[in-house]
Symmetry: C2
Subunit: 414 residues, 2 copies
Amino acid sequence: LLTDKVNSNSVLIGEHLFAMGINVSRVTTVGDSLPEMTAVFSDALNRSDIIISTGGLGPTFDDLTRQAVSQVTGRALKEDTVVLETIRGFFARRKAAMPENNRLQAQVLEGAEVLNNPNGTAPGQLLEFPDSKHDNKKKLVALLPGPPREMLPMLEAIAGRLKPFSGILQKRFVLRITGIGESLVEEKLRPVLEAERKLESGVVNFGIVASHDMIIDMKATVSGTDEMEIDETIKNIKKEFRDILGDHVFGEGRQTLEGAVGELLSHKKQTLALAESCTGGMVAARITNQPGSSAYFLEGIVTYSNTAKERLLKVNPETILAHGAVSQQTAVEMAEGVRSISGADYAMSITGIAGPGGGTAEKPVGLVYIGLVSPAIKEVFKYQFSGTRGDIRTRAANTALDILRRYLLNPKGR
Amino acid sequence: LLTDKVNSNSVLIGEHLFAMGINVSRVTTVGDSLPEMTAVFSDALNRSDIIISTGGLGPTFDDLTRQAVSQVTGRALKEDTVVLETIRGFFARRKAAMPENNRLQAQVLEGAEVLNNPNGTAPGQLLEFPDSKHDNKKKLVALLPGPPREMLPMLEAIAGRLKPFSGILQKRFVLRITGIGESLVEEKLRPVLEAERKLESGVVNFGIVASHDMIIDMKATVSGTDEMEIDETIKNIKKEFRDILGDHVFGEGRQTLEGAVGELLSHKKQTLALAESCTGGMVAARITNQPGSSAYFLEGIVTYSNTAKERLLKVNPETILAHGAVSQQTAVEMAEGVRSISGADYAMSITGIAGPGGGTAEKPVGLVYIGLVSPAIKEVFKYQFSGTRGDIRTRAANTALDILRRYLLNPKGR
């Protein structure tokens, strides 16, 4: 099926090209059909200066990229003896004979440069030829393999060849925001978005992307010809955004909530322990996904049963009896329990009903209590999340991380 | 940036259409540029019977899908008073006034049917018109919103309208495989793949997709005109694959390792407890992502520090001193500890070096011990995983789940 997998290569390639000042105008995904592929390549050659294709360089009958480009460019395919030896070598290092099929991967387009593949058998190919419509311009066609770990090194290897196509200067930033709705973000930022940022020589574009995990990305792209002006503009917009949104901004670029929490804990040299029920270890798994988290994360206890809450976290059985496992009282005792057992500076607890079953009129699916305990604080926050079991768990985990983050940022203000 | 996010709608739509016997020939992603968009729509109208677009129906200046389709089809856009009232109602239910911007979403193409949007403000639109090149054929253009939860109900609503375009019958299956390499899977299945499956009236296509988390999907698509023949063929191929691969097959379709483990534990009415170090709660988080997991999952203990291993899991400090926290001996004591504390039937432990720091010549990054303890078994498995911190953690988690799964399937054979 053509649509079996999402196309993650386009994201990787788009980022590389953007940083070079080259914009992607179109991404097309096409099946393993020679007529379809030649139609796409021929259309792309008409429209674009650079064509980067990924995939279809494998050793089987349905790997047709080489043939399609050969047809469209009129360049013959010939077996390259050096490439063939390289492929044989790849198998020899794995103590295997090269299957006869793989011979197909040694077929190189006439005049193409071969791009080495340290992570696989399919070499890439790079074609450069004069643009028939413009005297001084060239066109570039790159055939790269599909797996990202094979594709990316080649993309880096041809960076120098892409450089001449680089247009305007452009830079961008992404602010990561949580704890506030998309429409409110837009409303608060509107004065900045609407203030026409007249650069001497460029434009500013904004974009806002909200996801179902309650994280919002506010993006800005600034392009022009004057790098100093671009840098200054980015600095100013970022500051205005941050002034307006305050600590709803938890980071830039690819920062995560667990990353922000980890940096704050590291910086303050403080430690954390967790008692999770409905999130079942998700918060611990995310915290420990950070390299170096052993410096601040002591332990996590996932108590799915009531007896585990009593036995491991010293929750009073009478508390559960009187108020239920999903209650403010149980949340406090869970957090206090894991804090006293671990000796951590901060302890958090999460108990809720993730669904789809287990809800009642009084305690519906999505009800979640999050407890935070430190020497200076003892608080429980109550939420009613919506969505699937997965949504509720992710929202509870993100909210818990954000509560801790904001408390670490500003212990007195809360 | 056009390439900021992966296009997950194409996967969702492709699956829906496949099940109806309609194949997707091309997926194009294009930026918010009117000339680019009209070029794509006009090309698509030339080539295809059905065009489904997602996104660009929002209320802002860069939502251009309506305009692009209007230009290409020559149909004017007019404000629809019923749609306008529906949008006002959407805001009224949220006790908000409709921002003036949203008026744009009431613009409907001449002759288009409006598709209701219960989950957002942007209605979908459906255009049907005669194919100018074929007397008895029609073309269909659907404008759907970008967010999947808004898009999917509309896709289901227009299923009846897509039906007349349905071609051949086709069915498919996916077998999910782990614990064996891709090349070995291919080698073992080759006799089945190569045996030409001559159907009276159809074809069989195979595909194999390996991912970096050590799970392999073996797919087969059977298409033809005779449904009984298709069903029989699928049944036979599936059986042949399963006979060859045995318990390396952990499920079909969207089955997960934690789903397979959960079903086995449920079925046997047995319980599980976990002691995780390097995976930091990932296995517990995945196990508890299954609805109903509270029936078989008792508790998980994430011990990142040595003292937590000693205190919570009763690991002997001398064991850690003599052999280290990442050792066969510690893995055994972690699993025994959590089993005796929880009273679970099965207990697993995972301790390893996820990196990027912390490795030594003797115990390199990627070294992981996985322990499994039950009344009948006490085993530790040693692995050397490669990849990033995330890869190593995911591989360790998948491997632990698979060890348990295979042990539950066949307790005596191991």
